[in-house]
């Protein structure tokens, strides 16, 4: 019967998701345990911060710029209708700081850094380099995973803060070019209407997104099965899982901090 088959598929899918969530939770526990007290490889942390920042800065900057501009374009008709040009900054600004900034930058970061990380860890797992570490009595969690998780968390937060600023700048540029509102008005609009709470709300989200992206990308990397093809599948799964986590976390944080 058709319904029965769909239910079975849904059930299997639900079980698979539950297993993944459980696995990520276990990994999170291991990471937290290695952080209290902090015993991790400092060199690896610095190296990863470097790599991940370099890799994602250009795309994040570009995305942020366009996102800011987009918000201005979307709010333009409404602002024009009310004749409230002074509110243009408010409309674009709060959307960027609270939602669009963290989400878009998070998605880009996940695609660029998260996926790369999964591919790297996955290849290392498949070629037994992870076992090699264990055989040398080096804990892969402390040496490999924790530095990457921390680096991604720190990087995403930093990138979101920077990206927010770039997005606001982009908004100002587009406002000038497309609906002819000058910098001073925009700046005043930002300053008058946006509060530190708005900013912190977004930063808080980026910390959560960073943790989610980092943990899921590491999890899918180290649980790769099936050789080369498995790595590709893991990358795919990691990116999708990160996107879903970002949406869910966004929802919960928005409501929880209301």
């Amino acid at each position: 019967m058709l319904g029965e088959r769909t239910l079975t598929q849904l059930g299997a899918r639900a079980l698979a998701v539950a297993r993944e969530v459980g696995g990520i939770a276990i990994l999170t526990g291991q990471v937290v345990r290695a952080l209290v007290p902090p015993r991790l490889d400092g060199r690896e942390l610095v190296r990863n911060l470097h790599r991940m920042g370099n890799r994602s800065l250009p795309i994040v900057a570009l995305t942020a710029f366009f996102a800011g501009g987009l918000m201005v374009v979307q709010s333009a008709p409404f602002v024009n209708r009310l004749g409230a040009t002074s509110l243009a900054g408010w409309a674009a600004g709060y959307a960027v700081l609270r939602e669009i900034g963290p989400i878009l930058i998070g998605l880009m970061f996940s695609g660029r850094v998260g996926a790369n990380n999964t591919a790297e860890l996955g290849t290392m797992t498949v070629t037994e380099q992870l076992d090699g570490l264990r055989a040398l009595a080096i804990d892969p969690i402390r040496y490999l995973i924790v530095p990457r998780v921390l680096a991604m968390l720190i990087m995403l937060t930093a990138l979101t803060i920077l990206g927010d600023l770039i997005a606001l700048a982009g908004a100002a540029v587009v406002a000038k070019l497309v609906i002819d509102i000058d910098w001073r008005t925009m700046y005043a609009s930002f300053a008058d209407n946006l509060t530190p709470t708005d900013f912190l709300h977004g930063v808080q989200k980026s910390v959560a997104f960073g943790a989610a992206i980092a943990l899921s990308s590491c999890y899918f990397g180290v649980t790769v099965r099936g050789g080369a093809v498995g790595v590709g599948r893991a990358v795919n799964a990691a990116v999708v899982a990160a996107a879903v986590s970002i949406m869910l976390l966004d929802f919960f944080i928005t409501y929880a901090t209301a």
């Binding site: 795309i59 570009l62 995305t63 366009f66 996102a67 501009g69 987009l70 374009v73 979307q74 333009a76 008709p77 409404f78 024009n80 509110l87 408010w90 709060y94 959307a95 609270r98 939602e99 878009l104 998605l107 880009m108 695609g111 660029r112 996926a115 790369n116 999964t118 591919a119 996955g122 290849t123 587009v174 497309v178 609906i179 209407n193 050789g227 080369a228 093809v229 790595v231 590709g232 599948r233 990358v235 795919n236 990116v239 999708v240 996107a243 879903v244 949406m247 869910l248 966004d250 929802f251 928005t254 409501y255 209301a258």
Partner: protein
């Protein structure tokens, strides 16, 4: 030879990536042209089409992404509405306009764009991974040797399916987003559903803009993802990089197209939209 001067080094630092970008853009354009040509070739009378490929792609792209799109757009709709109501109360104090404005935005922008972003992640990665691994395992060469152009065979059905499904999913996703928003506005801020569900501000050109955006995203994603897949080199590691590039590239393409079309529409209708 003397060490290159500062000017020379600066020029090289800018020039090299600029040239690489220019070359990549040209190659991307070639892929787009190739795919369009492939589609036309397959659909003109007497053209060959791999049997069932289009249907299969419609299923892979559409059905498999439905839940993902529905869930994510639903959540985002709720969040956006929550934030909007919060800000509206703070700045204006009157929530009667939220519904109408939101509908206009969902139809002309958020529906298609957010759907596009989600599909860029899911579908883009899938296409790049498929084509990438076919490339590194030399299956593409095998196809060529049996007289089939990979672009026709592989990308053309995905191209058509992606456009169709992105439009369809945008409509579904947009509806869910709007509905979820209305629910939030009603439950958390007491907005009357009748006030909220008011299509009075939505004009035909909003719908056209939204559908056009969806179509463009649907076209862009397989082209960008296919381009990245075709450039995969080496081994499975190369496939991994191709997949990453595809996700980032298609996501960015969605944003850039959104920006371009929105600015174009604004300009066309003189700031009124």
């Amino acid at each position: 030879m003397t060490r290159p001067s500062l000017v020379e080094r600066a020029a090289r630092a800018v020039g090299r990536p600029a040239l690489a970008a220019a070359r990549a853009t040209r190659d991307l354009w070639l892929v787009l042209v190739g795919v369009l040509a492939g589609v036309i070739r397959s659909y003109r009378p007497g053209g060959r089409r791999p049997p069932g490929a289009l249907l299969e792609q419609l299923y892979v792209i559409g059905n498999r992404s439905l839940v993902f799109v529905a869930v994510t757009l639903g959540f985002i709709g709720m969040v956006m509405m929550y934030q909007a109501c919060l800000q509206f109360s703070r700045a204006i104090g009157d929530l009667s306009q939220v519904g109408v404005q939101f509908l206009r935005l969902v139809v002309s922008d958020f529906g298609p764009t957010l759907t596009g972003m989600m599909l860029a992640t899911r579908v883009g990665a899938g296409i790049a991974a498929e084509i990438g691994s076919m490339k590194v395992t030399e299956q593409l060469d095998a196809l060529r040797m049996s007289g089939v152009l990979p672009i026709d065979y592989l990308l053309a059905p995905r191209f058509v399916a992606s456009i169709v499904m992105t439009i369809a999913l945008s409509l579904v996703g947009g509806a869910i987003m709007y509905g979820a928003g209305g629910l939030t506005a009603h439950l958390s801020f007491g907005v009357n559903p009748r006030t909220f569900f008011d299509p009075s501000l939505v004009l035909p050109r909003h719908l056209v803009l939204g559908l056009l955006k969806a179509a463009c995203y649907g076209a862009a994603i397989p082209v960008v993802a296919g381009f990245c897949g075709l450039r995969a080199r080496g081994s499975s590691e190369g496939v991994g990089w191709a997949t990453t590039a595809a996700v980032v590239g298609s996501s960015f393409a969605v944003i850039a197209i959104d920006f371009a079309l929105s600015v174009g529409a604004l300009w066309l209708y003189g700031g009124e939209l």
